[in-house]
């Protein structure tokens, strides 16, 4: 019985995952919009970084390269 439950759960997960949709290449402009940024205000973001770096005595490693455009 337990294996059936596990398989049932797995198939339920698979069904739910199938509702996830990928952002197609031509839709990536939506990701490039200002409102999609993690930090809406660059000044506030710079201040937060400054406080973080001061507290941790280290810098960098808080962001990733690229904007998700998928160009090239």
């Amino acid at each position: 019985m337990s294996i059936i439950r596990v398989l049932g759960l797995l198939s339920l997960c698979a069904c739910l995952l199938s509702s996830c949709t990928e952002v197609r290449a031509w839709e990536r402009g939506y990701l490039a919009r200002d409102e999609m940024a993690w930090e809406a205000d660059p000044l506030e973001s710079a201040l937060n970084d400054h406080i973080f770096f001061s507290k941790e005595a280290s810098s960098g490693g808080n962001s990733a390269a690229g904007g998700g455009c998928g160009c090239n």
Binding site: L10, A14, R24, A25, W26, G29, C69, C71, N72
Partner: protein, 169 residues
Amino acid sequence: MTIKPLLQSLLVLTVGTLCTVSGAVEEGDTAPDFSLPSIYADQPAITMAELKGKTVYVDFWASWCAPCLSSLPLYNEIYHKYKDQGLEIVAINVDNPIEDGLDFLLETPLDFLIPADPDGDAAELFEVYGMPTSYLIDPDGTVRLVHMGYRKGDIEIIEAAIVSSLAGK
């Protein structure tokens, strides 16, 4: 109760997911037909069927795609060089809203056909998998070259393929 139906449904889901990533237009395929309005309100719609018999270079671009913007002025030069030999360039803009694309065109006027595809209908037909992607289509409608991305020097590869297509080789 058996586990067979569950396994079968899992298999169907897996196959279904895999099927969604295939179907992109490749070299040797027949180019899909599309009809799109021009990005300019005062210009007629652009239909692929009307361009049959010409070498057509179809390029998908958007204002948010930096490599697209660097390639378009070069395509304009290529267009002027080969238009008398039967080359047509169709640069499909996928900006939504289209005003983003028009803003770029105000600064960089382009002389070839520019249809607007804000809903991605033509991009869906070609199954574009990166931006920019371009397709060189022979006069008989066969896709000769699929080119994804744009790097410095790519224009030479594209121009060579255009010249071969125009020569009917």
